[in-house]
């Protein structure tokens, strides 16, 4: 059955303890990510100034599950918008407008549509906020140049087969310019 999986709601992990190396081009980080995965390091992350195509596959990240949230919230918004108007005009506040039926439903379509879009759009944004852990605003970035022109490969100390020296040498062997240990 076509249904969502839990892994689709992957989220950002804080970079508190581990090793990172900096690369200069998107091509380098892409091949670095491929090789890191082949080495069976888990929970690693790539930090980039812009979305690099192919990096999701390289990191084996499944497609985001946010569309599912958005879809169901859209349905809820649609039902809410329609039923609200129905309850107002047919139950709570029945008024005769030039002899028309109290439940003149075609007139409810515009507001129902807007409610659908509002619920679907806002729920997508809230999900992004939660999954990228945006509630921690004063997070210290690994390196100030990552948001401008450098690409970082992060291997956390919680990864399997993590041995600090090995990891440092491994990242160096991938061609990273600076390799830093974060504790």
């Amino acid at each position: 059955m076509y249904w969502f999986k839990k892994e689709q709601f992957h989220f950002y992990h804080e970079t508190t303890s581990g090793v990172f190396g900096l690369f200069d081009t998107p091509e380098e980080i892409l091949s670095a990510a491929h090789k890191t995965r082949e080495k069976n390091y888990t929970g690693f992350d790539c930090l980039t100034p812009f979305p690099v195509h192919g990096l999701d596959e390289a990191m084996a990240l499944p497609r985001s599950g946010i569309p599912w949230i958005s879809f169901f919230m859209g349905i809820i918004g649609c039902a809410f918008g329609f039923s609200f108007q129905y309850l107002v005009h047919s139950v709570d506040w029945v008024i005769n407008f030039s002899g028309k039926s109290p439940n003149a439903w075609p007139a409810y379509i515009p507001v129902t549509f807007e409610a659908t879009v509002f619920f679907a759009g806002m729920s997508a944004v809230v999900s992004l906020y939660v999954l990228s852990r945006s509630n921690v605003a004063f997070r210290k970035p690994l390196h100030p140049e990552i948001t401008s022109h450098r690409f970082a490969l992060w291997i956390p100390s919680s990864s399997q087969n993590f041995k600090q020296e090995e990891v440092v040498n491994f990242i160096k062997s991938l061609g990273a310019k600076d390799v830093t240990v974060v504790k």
């Binding site: 091509e27 100034p49 879009v117 759009g121 806002m122 997070r139 948001t147």
Partner: protein, 457 residues
Amino acid sequence: MSMTTLVKEKLGIVPLVEGGKTYKQVTEEILKPTDTFPTSLWWKAFILAVTVTIVDLGIIGYLCYDGLYILGVNNPVGWGFFIVNFVFWIGIGHAGTLISAVLFLFRQGWRTGINRAAEAMTIFAVLTAATTLIIHIGRPWLGFWLFPYPNNRGPLWVNFRSPLIWDTFAVSTYLSISLVFWYIGLVPDIAALRDRTTHKVKKAIYSAMSLGWVGSNRAWSHYEIVCMLLAALSTPLVLSVHTIVSFDFAVSILPGWHTTILPPYFVAGAIFSGFAMVVTLMVIAREVFNLKQYITLKHLENMNKIIMVTGLMVGYAYGSEFFIAWYSGNEYEGFTFVNRAFGPYAWAYWIMISCNVLSPQVFWFESLRKNIKVMFVVSIFVNIGMWFERFVIVMTTHRDFLPSNWALYVPTFYDFAMLIGTFGIFFTLFLLFCRILPIIAIAEVKTVMPHKEGAHH
């Protein structure tokens, strides 16, 4: 971006960012205006815009104190300049969403250079439109009555069958979705600002605004999907907004307004006027902020093509409207249209036709499409023409079913002052935006920059 550099060169496809820049240069050049002290040109423009806004606020205060009679509204023309301004500004907003959403879905790489500024323009235009909407209700302090909320006045709700309530919902949904779409796009760029600045206070403000963005691919992966979702939701939303604005007219039973062509006609007109405004603003911005290598002639040429196409659509709508008025055999409908083109407001009608239908025809020629002066002048003409289009639609109800009731709409000083005031509000917000935030989406521009041969894309 499936084409390699070699193929692009062979086909003569120009890069979207000129000058062979590095990523670092892109960040620095686009963020430069946010670091430096504003130029005297900016200060002059800003002081002018703020002065106009303050005067406008004073007039709005006077309007609240004294009432709507200070305007030119009279019995046959119950909707005056406020509705003209409202429809005009909402229309301006549509280009921003079109660039950020529709062109996103069509994978048009060139949108990245202009989408940030266009989206900002959308938000400020919708806010400006909302101010005219709120003051036109006469008792603006009761504006919240437009929303259904539980109250102590018995079971008392808004009338959901009224297009004015649809409008309330459409405009507020549009504003909120555009706002979050714009802000999500800004987050990575604000993070770049945060990591660049050494000023303590600035750093704190940018940190709070950047929502802790560090560029993790786990977040980017969701981020890109959310952008796509918002684009897919905004596309029908933007069509619905101007459709519903046109329902304000079309659902009435007045000749000249009660026509089925109004929704597509309004949507085309909105995109038309919005692109003209983007061209006006971008021609100035690329000059003032030295961004000619990011907002290239190719961007401007593409926008001019859209202006020409939508201009032709609007022209077709004008013709079709006239034809149907005659073909329907309805004498009231026929009279309204003859009155529009040859009655007391004929001057406004012909300004509309010459600005909207004739002036964009110069864009048939490539040399004129790429000529900065020509496109600037045409974009101003189109804005004037589109304001007059709404003027013609609203004012030509001045001859209704009862000839003894006929009168002209004579705008007063306050009508004109508040029209100028809307520009004050818009430009105050836009100038502030240009100083504080990057006017080009840095992260997005980097994705369309030329990459090395053999890159994975």
